[in-house]
């Protein structure tokens, strides 16, 4: 038996509260008796009688609070005294029923409430985003930075800070990520698996993840790095960091890199780093030179679909062949398979209708469509067609993004129908969290309207679309496709194939248009 005491000088506490704490610590293991009192002469006598007036408390006065315990051993005594100190320091208990806890305002509060955080999703106006990202990184929290209009100097500093802390700074202008199965920003509900994605493009990442899901494989992590990460000034900092992360992750067995063609020096850096990993890496540098990729010991993919199919094949354990391809030949030329689907549409077009009007919500999807048109029609011929990225800043000033609000694109669809040269309207339909609840439903109203106006002018219109999404998405890909199909939209399983079909229609229509004037001239001659 041992008696210990601790004195809290000049600390007044009501006796009822002290007795409550005494009762609590008396109930602890190894404690036979406990007393908490203000050390008035009367109370000192009480302590003495109870055998609790330990040496430490001998000089305590009326303004001093004494905690004394009789314990089996020193350890038990110390635990009890610590518990009493904790109770006396008055950690506030949470709100009781019927009270409202005000919501937190700052990252500091949010992180504290969670007892530490893994990631902060920042979507404030760009002018404030840098400060918020700093605060998160300094607390050891990874950052998903959706905000745009963040100066590149800020991006450079934030990423250098993130790297020094072994944290991810995804963005700025990062549209999507999936971390440990949790979708951030505009992401799709895709199956979990062993394919890790790293992308400098939002809808490119979404398209690849959805096509991986469709191919029966799954995604381990999808890490967005922001559209400027492979800019020479940023130097691919975050793509390199993400590569290291995923290479170290035993749950990631295939890596896919997605970006526009980077600055040459950055491309070299990234490819070199990727080539030195133990994990196989599929590279989709949209429009980049496949030979450079192959030379680094990596697997090039021309389209998002090719990237997804190749990664899925690797995930299934199919071997890499000597020419750098994997599994069954990947359909890298969607143009070929498109002809039969396009046939009926071509037949109903009027002379003079030849042009593709691509109206895109996804920036990377519009970029891929342009590439495919170039491959299919030839670079020069492709220039005569129009592919607009309606999510570009040029169109979204003061208006919501077309992935959220279909009105802007719908106006463009109707306007395109009034142009007598329009043969094909080419669309992307992006599903997933954050996107419009029923993009297909919103589109078909505009498509019907467009068709009607064209019909009044004696024309028909071909509408080709692909749906970027999964059946598990809130909008349900199958349901969305059914809505589009019912409106006579030609559906392709991928964005690249949709562009291929559009090219096929345009090529046929163009050749007819070129022939037609001669027919007319001949027919009119007699």
């Amino acid at each position: 038996m041992t008696v210990h005491a601790r004195v809290f000088r000049n600390s007044y506490r009501d006796s009822v509260e002290l007795m409550r704490i005494a009762a609590e610590i008396e109930g602890l293991g190894g404690i036979t008796r406990a007393g908490l009192v203000m050390a008035t002469p009367a109370n000192r006598e009480v302590l003495t009688e109870a055998g609790l007036l330990a040496e430490a408390a001998l000089d305590a006065g009326p303004n001093d609070l004494v905690v004394a315990v009789a314990a089996d051993d020193d350890g038990a005594a110390n635990i009890a005294l610590d518990r009493a100190a904790e109770r006396l320091s008055g950690t506030e208990e949470g709100p009781t029923a019927g009270e409202t806890r005000t919501s937190w305002r700052t990252i500091a509060e949010g992180v504290a409430d969670l007892g530490g955080a893994d990631v902060a999703l920042i979507s404030t106006p760009g002018t404030y985003a840098t400060a918020e990202a700093f605060k998160a990184l300094k607390r050891g929290v990874n950052v998903f930075l959706f905000s745009d209009n963040v100066p590149i100097e800020d991006e450079i500093e934030l990423k250098s800070l993130a790297v020094s802390r072994d944290l991810l700074l995804m963005g700025p202008d990062c549209g999507t990520a999936i971390l440990d199965g949790v979708p951030l920003g505009f992401a799709n509900a895709v199956r979990r698996g062993d394919i890790g994605l790293i992308g400098a493009s939002g809808t490119g990442l979404q398209q690849v993840s959805c096509l991986i899901d469709r191919a029966g494989a799954g995604v381990s992590q999808a890490i967005g790095v922001g559209g400027r990460d492979l800019d020479a000034r940023v130097g691919g900092t975050m793509m390199l960091a993400a590569l290291r992360r995923l290479d170290a992750d035993p749950g990631t067995r295939v890596i896919v890199l997605i970006s526009k063609p980077p600055a040459e020096a950055v491309a070299r850096l990234v490819l070199e780093a990727a080539g030195s990993l133990k994990t196989p890496v599929v590279v989709n540098f949209l429009g980049g030179d496949p030979a450079v990729v192959r030379a680094s010991g990596l697997i090039p993919a021309r389209t998002f679909e090719a990237a997804a199919d190749t990664a899925a094949a690797l995930s299934r354990g199919e071997a890499i062949s000597d020419d750098g391809t994997v599994g069954a030949p990947v359909d890298d030329d969607p143009f070929g398979s498109a002809r039969e689907v396009a046939g009926p549409a071509i037949a109903s077009l009027q002379p003079g209708q030849w042009r593709i009007r691509g109206l895109f919500a996804g920036g990377s999807l519009s970029g891929e469509a342009k590439l495919v048109l170039g491959w299919a029609l030839g670079a020069e011929a492709a220039k005569a067609h129009e592919v607009l990225d309606l999510g570009d800043d040029e169109y979204t000033v003061g208006r919501p993004h077309p992935m959220i609000d279909p009105r802007l694109r719908n106006e463009h669809i109707v306007a395109a129908a009034d142009d007598p040269s329009t043969a094909v309207i080419l669309l992307d339909v992006v599903l997933g969290y954050g996107a419009h609840v029923d993009p297909a439903g919103a589109l078909v109203r505009a498509i019907r309207d467009a068709r009607q106006r064209a019909a009044q002018a004696g024309r028909s219109l071909a509408v080709v679309a692909s749906v970027c999404g999964t059946d598990a998405d809130p909008q349900d890909r199958s349901r969305q496709e059914a809505i589009l199909a019912a409106a006579g939209v030609i559906l392709a399983p991928s964005n690249a194939q949709a562009a291929g079909i559009a090219a096929s229609i345009a090529a046929a229509a163009t050749s007819r248009t070129e022939e037609h004037p001669r027919h007319t001239a001949i027919g009119a001659a007699p």
Partner: protein, 501 residues
Amino acid sequence: MTTEPTVSRLFPTDVRAVNVGLAMFAEAPAAHGATMAALDWRPPAEGDREVGLLLARIEDDPADRVGRQVGAANAEALSRLLAAQPLLLDVRPASEAMGLVGRTLLHSGPPIAWDRMCGPVRGAIVGAILFEGWAASAEEAEALADSGGVEFEPCHHHAAVGPMAGVVSPSMPVVVVENAAAGTRAHATLNEGLGKVLRFGAYDASVLDRLRWFRDVLGPTLSAALQASGPIDLRSLTGQALQMGDEGHNRNIAATSLFVRMLAPWIVRTTDTATAAGVLDFLRANDHFFLNLSMAACKSALDAAHGIPGSSVVTAMSRNGVDFGIRLSGTGDQWFTSPVGVPDGLYFPGYGPEDANPDLGDSAITETFGIGGFAMAAAPAIVRFVGGTAADALEFTRLMGRITLGRNPSYALPSLAFAGTPTGIDARRVVDSGIAPVINTGIAHRQAGVGQIGAGIARAPLGCFAEGIRGLAATLGITPGGATAAEPAAAVGSAATGLGR
């Protein structure tokens, strides 16, 4: 043979995420099992991007030179605040206790020139000049002030605090409070009660007579009693009063009663019966007598936490009826000011907000130390001043907990499960959250001498806290674009360029 595929993991446990900005982004992660804190975010520093960046750059951060310094400085400031042990030692003339000599008058709030002073302060200054005999009439007193014949300085520059106008002249008796933990001393005049009083700018014969009685009778009597009783522990007394319905600023009836109970026997023992009766009658009739003691106690504690380089702890909040000023521990003698507004509150019959003077006095020193408005949970009786309920009182204290560094275990609040009062205002938390400190306050009539016309609560203006962050960042060599070249390179981001300004 197949093995179970390893599930990919970036994080050791289920994802914990903070959502900052668009509310819709909080939904999908939560639906996929993430634990979310969805912030009710607003731009820090009322949208001042530069201050927001400065704030981010001086956040606590063990891996960064500045972040380490600020964190350690604030921990030190908090520990000094919690260690404070203010003792009432004596009541002496200001000339003696504070070395206040010559024609110098002290006033409340940050520095202000005579021609900018508000009505109640000007009235109090006239009264003090008359009391000291530097002029024979109010006109002469004003002329003396106009001619620059009197020096004006803030109480805060002389280890003193004064309620409302806060005017201190050399002959006035002041309480001498010493923080035994640090040796810092603070002073305050004796509280005059309500009605026509100098602190509201009144200076008629009854006011001057009372001041003379303070000088000749009350001050010496209290001094003699204190010498006999020995020092009075104001921390312990305040701790008890907070459990009896006081909050230490607008409600002082419990503390005053405890004080009188402790001192009365010593007053009776150390003076004649008639004097003792007069003094005790005065104390009995003045529910707010303890306010000035409470203020001096808080000042003695806060001064001990002042002057720690890098600390963002607020060591003074104060108003002169024109400006609201704050000082930070890490920015030395600088004041950061904003225009001060009229408090929200209830008015005595016949008065309204149009009669009110903008907020006035050093008494916000109590909130600066975590009592007053910060301890509203202790005083549901006065929550009516804000038209609120007892639940609102708890909420005010909780809200203040979000801008402070710790809790003061000496000031336990029964209604919040004996949590301590929120202590150590961190200017960074104020600017980041936009949660302004709550100040319980009396409302003065804008004309000198009319007196108190109501009471209520004021919220500190946020602008001076943003300026404080600017000032603190400057002492640390931090600009919105990062550390300046003159300072040793910060551990992080040193290779980066500026931030585009």
